[in-house]
């Protein structure tokens, strides 16, 4: 295949990828899109003001670096379209996906030049093309590409892939003729810049230098200026293993730094690490075998590994990983790409599937780690099939792409409709509470807005009954599922008051609050309960709501989230302003950084035109915002209020 043919094939591949993803582009907003994008007032900004771009870029609360590059891209689309639209954002993600695929192809091309220096260039091009196609058509990536907020993972992957490709390209040259200090310096600067850009997309970008070491030890193995350097090889291995030892030392030295985050999780560090050993095999299975029936947005049905033998597959998974790594190292001279694929996969997962107290499972975590596998697969398919003759050499990889593409299309179609997506997820993960919740929530949304979906009275009743049934199923599988209990209470209280005893659900919810560690979803449910109780839509015995709030405050003393719940309840019940402000002031006194509550207090003060305290609260807000992330909101507050300069 000549260069022109290669480009044409790549273009056709890109076109087909777009076609396969096309049905899913019209899909809905999804979970984390809401807090990061839809409920983010900083993304409704005036694009003519330079600083509003800055505050929009820094407006995400995800991750310590705020992921400004990804947020900036969202801001740019919001500015171009006048508002955020899921279709536009998903199309943007798809464009990024194609760019990443090009980089996977480029990386594969450079790597194959090292691994197969004797192979004809046309063949190497073909293998690189397969690698890129397999990666682009991977059905597991649907939950990254069609999930707008996962652009964060894409932006990080984009710059990491670019860094890997550049390094592979330069290092190949250095292996043959060495490098000048200027070349080394330049490479260091470029790679540092790419690492920085990747990290500003998502913190995983910081893994780029570690991934470069994976390239170093698996492909180049100390080759420098046409010679083998044992020192360089050893240095590569030492640097590759160093972060593991440093991480361990840090954990021993300051365990609270990491372990503190597990206070809000229902698993421990050890349990997380043991579970990930199994989970990484599950991801691998989904990547290799496009079993879309096992894929999904929710994987909370995953059984946690409580010990090495609970379940016994934990020990097996761990042993299998050790074995695989050992085999890959042992075969590194014959199968360098195997070692590379294993290292890229494991190191690429090391941040989100490692010791950090993050949620257990997300498919988008495979976006970059799968690149090494794609390169390996492209090469293995091409190399293995090539021996059978020229026709199978093309036909078999094409067949693979066809299979992947077919499943991609099915999955993409599923993602085109909110209810269908939720139902398929629930079907694929019948034990997933979240999946059931998602279905019930969509049904409730449609029940509450029948005109948007053309529902008649009877259909509405069916939707409501079905939603209630789902919530009940959730309760049966998990008696402490606060979200379901609260929804059951609201439904029975609002629509089945005569036939049911809604107070039972509220009592159960109060028990659940006492027994479980509250998660973000629980707070959202409680927020909805407070509004319902406050507005009088939910019937509760006298003082029931206050009792619940008191119990929550006793269990989580000083919690700003609970304070917000309390405030929202008072707001919904139209409690006197003094009472509302007392709650706010009580919680704001010890916590200077609580910007949301402080804004609420400013609003309350504004209604009373108490400008002195308003200025003081605004000053405290400004003082505790060293990155000036809230500046646009503050600026707007003062430009629209009556408290502009005297």
């Amino acid at each position: 295949m000549n260069v022109r043919g290669y480009c044409l094939a790549a273009l056709i591949g890109a076109f087909l990828t777009v076609l396969l993803y096309l049905p899913g582009l019209s899909g809905p907003w999804l979970f984390d899109d809401h807090p990061n994008l839809l409920q983010n007032p900083q993304l409704e900004f005036d694009p003519r003001v330079a600083d509003e771009w800055r505050t929009a870029a820094l407006s995400s609360n995800s991750g310590p670096l705020r992921r400004p590059l990804a947020m900036l891209s969202f801001a740019a689309q919001a500015a171009a379209d006048g508002a955020l639209h899921p279709l536009a954002l998903k199309a943007g993600n798809l464009a990024l996906h194609l760019l990443c695929a090009v980089l996977v192809g480029g990386l594969a091309w450079s790597i194959l030049a090292v691994v197969e220096p004797g192979a004809p260039a046309s063949r190497r091009r073909l293998w690189a093309l397969f690698a890129a196609a397999l990666w682009a058509l991977q059905p597991l990536h649907v939950s990254t590409v069609l999930y707008p907020v996962q652009r964060m993972a894409q932006v990080a992957a984009l710059f990491m892939l670019a860094g890997l490709w550049l390094y592979a390209h330069w290092r190949q040259r250095w292996a043959l003729r060495g490098a000048t200090p200027a070349e080394l310096g330049a490479a260091a600067i470029w790679l540092a810049l790419l690492t920085g850009l990747a990290a500003l997309g998502k913190e995983n970008g910081l893994l780029l230098p570690w991934l470069l070491l994976a390239l170093e030890v698996s492909l180049f193995r100390g080759r420098w200026a046409g010679r083998e350097s044992a020192l360089l090889l050893r240095l590569g291995w030492v640097l590759l293993l160093l972060p593991l030892f440093l991480g361990l030392a840090l954990l021993l030295q300051a365990p609270d730094w990491l372990l503190g985050g597990y206070n809000n999780r229902d698993f421990t560090l050890l349990e997380r690490l043991l579970t990930q050993a199994r989970l990484l095999w599950q991801y691998l299975y989904l990547l290799v075998v496009p079993d879309i029936g096992a894929m999904g947005l929710h994987h909370d049905d995953l059984r946690l590994s409580r010990s090495l033998l609970t379940p016994w597959t934990t020990a097996l998974a761990l042993a299998a990983w050790l074995l695989l790594v050992a085999v890959a190292v042992w075969l590194r001279h014959r199968l360098p790409l195997l070692l590379l694929a294993v290292l890229v996969y494991l190191l690429g997962h090391s941040m989100e599937s490692g010791p950090w107290p993050l949620e257990m499972v997300f498919e988008h975590r495979n976006y970059l780690p799968s690149a090494g596998l794609a390169v390996f697969a492209g090469w293995a398919l091409g190399q293995g099939i090539a021996r059978l003759g020229p026709l199978p050499a093309v036909a078999v990889p094409l067949l693979c792409c066809l299979i992947y593409g077919g499943f991609l299309f099915v999955r993409s179609s599923t993602w085109s409709d909110e209810l269908r997506l939720a139902q398929v997820n629930s079907l694929n993960h019948p034990d997933s509470v979240r999946a059931r919740h998602a279905v019930a929530n969509v049904l409730m949304e449609r029940f509450l807005a029948p005109q948007d979906h053309g529902l008649d009275r009877q259909q509405r009743a069916i939707y409501l009954a079905e939603a209630r049934q789902r919530y009940q199923e959730n309760y049966r599988s998990n008696a402490a599922d606060l979200g379901s209990l609260i929804m059951l209470y609201q439904i029975d209280s609002g629509y089945y008051g005569d036939q049911a005893d809604p107070g039972r659900w509220l009592a159960l919810a109060r028990d659940a609050v006492q027994s479980k560690v509250l998660q973000v979803s629980d707070y959202i449910a409680l927020q909805s309960l407070m509004r319902c109780l406050g507005a009088g839509r939910c019937r509760a015995a006298g003082g029931e709501a206050e009792l619940l709030i008191t119990e929550l405050e006793q269990r989580y003393p000083g919690s700003l989230r609970i304070a917000r719940l309390h405030y929202e309840y008072l707001l919904a019940t139209a409690a006197p302003r003094e009472a509302r402000m007392a709650v706010l002031e009580q919680h704001l006194a010890p916590s200077v950084a609580a910007s949301r509550l402080r804004y609420r207090l400013i609003e309350e003060l504004g209604a009373e035109q108490r400008f002195g305290p308003i200025f003081e609260q605004a000053r405290v807000l400004l003082a505790n915002d060293p990155g000036y992330r809230e500046l646009s909101s503050l600026r707007h507050m003062f430009s629209t209020s009556r408290v502009e300069a005297p």
């Binding site: 003001v49 330079a50 600083d51 800055r54 000048t180 200090p181 200027a182 070349e183 310096g185 330049a186 600067i189 470029w190 810049l193 108490r610 400008f611 002195g612 305290p613 308003i614 200025f615 003081e616 605004a618 000053r619 400004l622 003082a623 060293p626 000036y628 500046l631 646009s632 503050l634 600026r635 003062f638 430009s639 408290v643 502009e644 300069a645 005297p646």
Partner: protein, 630 residues
Amino acid sequence: MQRAARSWPVALPLLAVLLALTAWLYWPGTSGPPLLDDMSSVLVIDDLQGERERFWDVVLGDGSGPLGRPVTMLSFAVEKLWLDDSLQTSKRVNLVLHLVNGVLVAAIFGVLLAHLAAPAAPILATLLAGAWLLAPLQVSTVLYVVQRMAMLSTTFMLCTLLAWLLWRRGLAAGRLAWHWLALVLLSALVAIFAKENAVVIIPVLLLLEALWFQCRDTQGRVMPRWRRAVHGAIGAGAAGLLLVAAWRWEALAAAFRHRPFSLEERLLTQLRVLWDYVGQLWWPDPQRLGVYHDDFAISHSLTEPLTTLWAAIAWGVVGALTLLALRWRQGRWAALGIAWFLVGHAVEGSVLPLELYFEHRNYFPALGLFLLLGLGLLALMRLGPPMVAPVLTLLAVYVFWLGLQTSPLVQIWSSRPLLAMHHVNGHPGSARANTDMAVLLAGAGALAEARQYSERAFRASSGERDADRALRDLALACLAAVAVAPAESLASGAVNPQRPVSSVTTLLTLVRLLQDNACPGFPRAQFADHMATLFLVDDFERRAAANVYSSLAVLENALGRFEYALEYTEQFLALSPDNTRGQLMKLHFATALGKVAVAEEMIAALQVKQAAGELNVGEQQTLALYTEQP
């Protein structure tokens, strides 16, 4: 040179982008509030379109410096005459000037770096100019209208530099291009009349020649006579300044009597101030940036605070390294960057009894630091061609980062409340910042909170008297439209009656409010009576500064008590003899009281001044009111 020429097609669009970015970032800030000296130098120029005859009064009538800064005042007058009276327009003109300066900086850096045969010199120069344009420290110059004085003087200093570079190109080629030399002299002169500290351009030019060009011709040969002249001028200048300083030391020290620090303390403090400037230019801390730095701790000795010693040692090390570096050609280039920064601060950062810290003082000296940064990057680029692009990209990232620091500051500067909050957050120990916050709160009707900040300002201030605070609290009550109890107004001067008031501004502010009858319920007469018991005394010379008496005369005038007003005016004239404003006031009060002899005496004195051309148009018009027959 060829490589440099190839870079221009990239550098020019890059410069355009940087200028556009700077304009975009700064634009919201042009709608910001007036500050401190804006009131006395800019806002007083109102309705010039209606009174065109006052044009030259405005141009020649500013008292900010010994030369009156007429070039800057001319720019204000022209702007008011041809554009409009708004502060926003003045800020926009400042912004345009900043952009023009950015272009000049890029051109100068381009020529300087091309002389070193720097790879991609135009791009490097443009990015360094971008760093200077977007440095957050410049916000308090560009958006503070009256600092046009510093900006405009820099514009002409940059023109001087550019003309010098063109002149010395001819000199190096064996030609004497007199027209460029004439432009050098003319620009330098105009710069000095824009702001006096532009005089530092002379040593900067000499150092540029000695350290950068090293007195070489186009063939790289030293021009011996030229080198002797340059080195001689530097040596003679330095020796002369040191001699003058030593000879006039007592007089210089005596000029500090109205400052809360001595000459020695100022010099010691500047060692730390200069390091702070360096930090704020290269790695800014935006939270501390602003107009108010009166909380900057004074160095009373080398060990109090101890950081003075570290600062001195650090400057000593820099000095030693610079001297060592003079042995090498590259070292001399670097030495210029350091010398540029220090010499640029020589006027405002040394022996004159000025305030300790102002950010706008870095507008011109900052160029030395960015040149030094450029030389560091150039050293990296010289490692080999592959380093050029990444180093330039790194610099571009740094420039962008500086812009990200500047952007929120500009937004803060666009809002009066946010600016006051920012200042008090960054400088909780600043009397001015706390006073400003108090004024903001009082203006919003929050007197209780305003008084808390007034109290903090009092505690933070080293020289404020109880009466100053009491007067400020009265003014705050007035601003908050709160009626003041008489007892409160009488508190002024209860403590330290020998010299109760130190702040003329506070008194004048209150007097203006009372004059405008903006304080409902305020016992004006009672207050004026109390002031009279404090200030209409025999030893008035020691009681207060001259302007306190002129302010009180204004108050009595508002009350129609011309006897007291005349008495205050006479006290004012006793402390400021021959003051035209005082004489006109005396004429007015004497006429009102029917004291013909006194009035005629004043008319005679003023007519002598008029004949000598010492009265401006406004003063002549006022005098005419009393001399022309009805």
